[in-house]
């Protein structure tokens, strides 16, 4: 009998420990690798210092996490979610996000307009997809406009992401007098670029490897990747074409059904702390999304790092995020059928 009582007591303690543990942490879903580390070492660290609440990360690819969130609808695995602006719209359209009340985020007062993506998700940092090239391997070639990618000298030297052709599709449409909504106008223009493509990269590591070993000396490249490789000693020149570079914004949102909404708002507030924003920009060489962030001049002058309203306005090509979410499949299919294969 005594043994049974001890067992029951122990079992009771075990049951009690579950809700206690759940209260002690905020769960954040994010990509793995350097993205998780970035948030862990900046935002999460400060959040824990301020609230005493630990942050636990669930990591995975964009699609894996989206699928998991869909399966756990109403009872989410995480309280907050990081994803790209257009994929965020897929979450929002599927009713997976809470509507945000930015009055609970004092630091959001300085949020740049371009980071206010939807009533459900807001930008956390920005980057661009633009032209990056190896001047040492392409002597005499310069890139001042996206149109320069069509130069005959670029034939068989270009790489672009295989997971998202939206950048080059929209650029082609712009050069042909259209825009993202009238992307069909750029189809013929883009078909003319087909001989220039040597490969399509699958992920950041693949992009970095192909430009570092000179296999594809010109790329439509993520600015943060290019800056990382430059830091590693690879002689890459990153260009902001005269038409602008294609803006990308990673976003944060509160998962619908989260039981720690107040803590989630506090986390978002720390995310928009000007000092944290400057730190993130310094570490990743991206653009802060609050105008009050004070950047080191060495960082601020880098191509693809926007620190003034003028830069946001004149150097960024913004594809409407909702339109992009709706068009991604159509663009991807057209690109695969007409350019890649």
């Amino acid at each position: 009998m005594k043994r049974l009582s001890i067992l029951a007591f122990g079992f009771g303690l075990l049951l009690l420990s579950f809700p206690a543990a759940a209260q002690d942490k905020l769960v954040v879903s994010i990509w793995g690798g350097s993205w998780r580390d970035l948030v862990a070492e900046t935002v999460a660290k400060k959040f824990t210092q301020e609230t005493g609440v630990a942050v636990e990360f669930i990591t995975g690819g964009t699609i894996d996490r989206l699928n998991k969130a869909k399966l756990a609808k109403g009872n989410p695995e995480s309280d907050l979610n990081f994803t790209t602006s257009h994929v965020g719209w897929l979450y929002a359209n599927d009713d997976l996000y809470e509507q945000l009340d930015l009055s609970k985020v004092p630091n959001a007062a300085n949020l740049v307009e371009q980071a206010k993506i939807s009533p459900y998700h807001v930008g956390t940092w920005a980057y661009v997809y633009t032209i990056g090239y190896r001047p040492d391997l392409l002597p005499g070639i310069t890139f001042e406009s996206w149109a320069d990618l069509w130069k005959p000298e670029v034939k068989g030297k270009l790489a672009a992401p295989d997971f998202d052709p939206s950048h080059i599709i929209v650029v082609s449409a712009l050069l042909a007098g259209g825009d993202a909504g009238q992307w069909e106008k750029g189809q013929e223009k883009l078909k003319q670029l087909k001989p220039s493509f040597k490969a399509y990269y699958t992920n950041d590591a693949n992009s970095q490897q192909l430009i570092a070993n000179g296999e594809t000396p010109v790329q439509v490249i993520l600015s943060m990747n290019a800056h990382h490789m430059i830091g590693q000693g690879v002689p890459i020149k990153l260009v902001i074409p005269k038409e602008g570079a294609v803006l990308g914004i990673d976003t944060i949102a509160i998962m619908k059904g989260s039981k720690k909404v107040d803590l989630a708002y506090k986390f978002i507030n720390v995310m928009f702390d000007p000092a944290i924003q400057a730190e993130v920009a310094t570490l990743k060489k991206g653009s802060p999304v609050v105008s009050s962030a004070k950047l080191n001049p060495e960082i601020a002058k880098l191509p693809g790092v926007f620190s003034t309203p003028e830069q946001w306005k004149s150097q960024a090509i913004i594809i409407d995020h909702k339109l992009r979410a709706e068009k991604t499949a159509e663009w991807r299919k057209w690109f695969a059928e007409n350019i890649m294969n």
Binding site: L66, N93, D94, A199, Y201, E326, A329, K333
Partner: protein
């Protein structure tokens, strides 16, 4: 009929697994028959559009390319693996035997991505092969090896090799060495004895190895994705490109179903073609 006391115990977990796989397959099948709704994670109503879209020449070409790459991989793996398996079975020295076995199966212990990246280092413009050829003065500019069918097949043969070696070695080990000796004692040279005795008797191993290599290669993803660089595509790459990367899950599902159907067709065809050769095996 002998009593089999553990049959139920062993069959039950296997049946559970089969049920799980069946449920997954049923889900894929029902997704393939539903419409894609732009901007939404939910699939729409019943639709055959996904399958009719597969009739475009592009998809037929990728399906044919996939079969061709699988065939080349299986054939090359057989050519490379057979001498290794033969040496493994006939080596007298235990150290040599162990060394051959370790070298042959090592690719299985490397992660797919790591193995593929190392091939990029070997086959790239500044890679090992081009560097050697340039230093020897045999070429004056790097050969374009990456993003070609040759490069993809080379990397796929590397990963298929261990399975092929093991299957061939198992078949060769079952051949009584006295058959070859008998042939030689009747005047056949070593080559003739091999061609007329050992090779035919190892046919079941060859068939099993080729079939396995073919089926295995059919689902290859990371190797054609990274080595092919979007220029050499197999069905799994198309599933990723058109379905998963653009959240068009119904179309990805229809590609998967079509790929699976093609695999069954090819394997059935291989079985029919191989049937006359099965009689050559040791009895």
């Amino acid at each position: 009929m002998q009593p089999q006391p553990f049959l139920r115990t062993f069959v039950f977990p296997a049946a559970l697994c089969a049920l799980g796989f069946l449920a997954a397959m049923a889900t894929v099948l029902q997704y393939s028959l539903r419409a894609y709704v732009p901007g939404s994670l939910e699939a729409g109503g019943l639709s055959f559009d996904n399958f009719s879209a597969l009739l475009k020449p592009l998809y037929a070409r990728v399906f044919i390319d996939t079969v061709w790459i699988c065939f080349l991989t299986a054939a090359c793996a057989l050519l490379v693996a057979y001498p290794i398996a033969y040496a493994l079975v006939h080596a007298q020295n235990r150290l040599i035997k162990a060394a051959i076995l370790i070298i042959a199966v090592t690719p299985l212990f490397l992660g797919e991505v790591v193995r593929t990246y190392s091939w990029i280092v070997v086959l790239g413009n500044n890679g090992f092969i081009n560097s050697v050829l340039l230093k020897l003065g045999l070429i004056d500019r790097p050969l374009q090896i990456m993003f070609t069918t040759f490069a993809v097949v080379t990397a796929l043969v590397h990963v298929t090799l261990p399975v092929m070696v093991i299957m061939l070695a198992a078949a060769l080990a079952h051949i009584d060495p006295s058959f070859e000796k008998a042939a030689q004692s009747l005047g056949a040279g070593p080559v003739r004895a091999f061609l007329t005795v050992t090779l035919p008797l190892s046919t079941p191993g060859i068939i099993a190895g080729v079939t396995t290599a073919f089926a295995w290669t059919f689902s290859a993803f990371a190797t054609p994705q990274l080595i092919g660089g979007g220029q050499v595509n197999m069905i799994s790459n198309l599933v990723y490109q058109l379905g998963l990367a653009s959240f068009n899950f119904p179309f990805a599902a229809s590609l998967s179903v079509a790929g699976l159907a093609l695999t069954f067709m090819i394997l059935s065809l291989l079985r029919v073609v191989a049937r006359p050769f099965e009689k050559f095996g040791p009895h």
